[in-house]
Symmetry: C2
């Protein structure tokens, strides 16, 4: 009769497992999304491509891509990587007296954002290049982690990595629970994102596509190999660069894409142009109280052409104010 | 008494599952590897990093990288991608009468491999560029799949995708069963490998790192987006390029790396230089009967410096003749 207790345990475990999995399947997947067309379009899509009907997509092909700035985390009052670069410029300024009179560094050091933006994308790139190069990849990773631990957002006075959107965290988890593979496809620097995205979003570094600088393999003085960041742009993963980046890093066309700005338009077009059912979504920042309200004329994260195309093509547009019960995890 | 039959089913399922998982755990993981130091070094490493001891590595960090040419599939009498390019040159030659008198195309069309190799890596690149560009990524994928379906290896008279190493297939499966994520890191073209690696190796396209050409996003005449291959090299994932490619695409340092030539030396050095227990392996081609025997003076897949370093550093070196019970899946 030794078998009895073991059998009993098996029964208990099996019944418990069946109960838990049933309960899990029944539980509300997107609690921070208000009921309405937006939420319905997401759930409907996932139900269709995972169900046994004509829209079924095998798990291996369930590729979902997300922009980062303005889609997974906040991008105001300016891209957070620029805040990082600003802090780097300040820290490095004593070794670079020439920056006091050299643009765009002068404007940055004087926190004169109005002048800074007149230097456009080129000016921002100069700053990124100057502050992201001349060190090993390991040192850069440490610098990023120190910054995410210590820097604070000027309005919310919290670490930048807390300014992430609760509804999008739930969406990422919901997709993964349905055997999607979730990727970031961002104009931001790939080495700026990778140190913290796994902890913050549950997305591993190998599922991050982004802009990158040139890196060189060298043997250090002790014959220990290092990867040196050269401070030269290698690839800009923005606008038409996003489908290129998706092709290069992922090598499959996504069936689900989420962005928030004109820089995501080509990624959404590329996703839409595949065969079978697809999901294209945009976050529209309409909530000045809980976050920010901006679109067509914004300096950072401008949403203009992509909004028109979304309307024309019937893509999902999140109205942050109406569709999100909660914006940041720390808000109630 | 309705509960009875359900309970009985649960017991049967639970007992069956326990039995199967026990049987699976006990089954021989690498049947095509002969017993000896080589096989022992692999099993020992995997046991240590997955066990509860001081060498434990969390599953997310179990990154394993494999060279392709000469490590997962054969690379003789010349790289298979070159065989593909040769067939492309032949197919395209009617539209390129100038190739009859223009090197390196002339040598290739005349199958004069001796002259061809005098043009070195540059010559091979010219051929790859001429045959891999000027078409969309979708068209290129179709061309590759047609070729892998129809082309035959000159010696074995089989599709090139059958000239894969049975012991390495088992090793890939063994690592994945132990929660490793397996990647290809190859000097070969990323878009040449991706169409078939999932079916052949069980490695999804997004886990393939390789050399790449420039690609441009365009809207076609019907406003349908396309990615056009420009016929310009973007990145060479070979030698010191391999750690750069690993950093760019994976963003984590592997704990397990397998190669077969000097082109893999830096990838092995980079893997070795991390902290904790690591595995570095080389396939040494010592079996002229079943495959090929070559190393220090080979035109393709030269193994010289890496062999010396492996000896010095006590890396695992596979003696193909002695260590592999079977080479190709079709051999007994």
């Amino acid at each position: 009769m030794i078998a009895r207790p073991i059998t009993t345990i098996f029964i208990i475990v099996a019944v418990a497992l069946a109960f838990i999995s049933h309960a899990f399947a029944q539980s509300e997947p997107l609690p921070s999304w208000n009921d309405g067309d937006t939420k319905r379009s997401i759930v409907d899509f996932v139900t269709r491509v995972t169900g046994q009907g004509p829209d079924f997509v095998p798990p291996a092909e369930r590729i979902a891509v997300f922009d980062n700035d303005g889609t997974l985390w906040c991008e105001q009052p300016f891209y957070f990587q620029l805040a990082f670069a600003l802090d780097r410029v300040k820290a490095m300024a004593p070794d670079h007296p020439e920056w006091k009179s050299k643009q765009p560094f002068k404007a940055l050091l004087e926190q004169d954002m109005r002048t800074l933006v007149t230097f456009g994308e080129k000016g921002l790139l100069d700053i990124v290049v100057a502050t992201h190069g001349g060190m090993t990849t390991d040192t850069f990773t440490k610098t990023v982690l120190e910054w995410t631990a210590n820097a604070r957002h000027p309005r919310f006075n919290r670490p930048y990595t807390e300014l992430i959107y609760q509804p999008m965290l739930e969406l990422l988890a919901y997709l993964r629970a349905n055997d999607f593979k979730t990727f970031i496809v961002s104009g931001g620097g790939i080495e700026f994102m990778r140190p913290w995205v796994e902890k913050v979003y549950g997305i591993p570094p190998e599922q991050v596509v982004g802009s990158s600088g040139e890196v060189k393999y060298q043997l250090g003085p002790d014959d220990r190999p290092i990867l040196m960041k050269l401070g030269k742009i290698d690839f800009i993963d923005d606008g038409p660069g996003k489908p290129v980046g998706i092709n290069r890093f992922i090598g499959r066309r996504p069936i689900f894409a989420f962005g928030n700005s004109d820089g995501d338009l080509q990624m959404l077009q590329w996703t839409a142009a595949g065969s079978g059912r697809r999901f294209m979504g945009l976050v529209h920042h309409t909530d000045a109280d809980r976050e920010y309200a901006y679109d067509r004329r914004s300096q950072f994260g401008k949403l203009d052409k992509a909004l028109d195309e979304a309307t024309k093509k019937n893509w999902t547009v999140v109205d942050m104010k109406a569709d999100w019960r909660r914006v940041f995890p720390f808000q109630n």
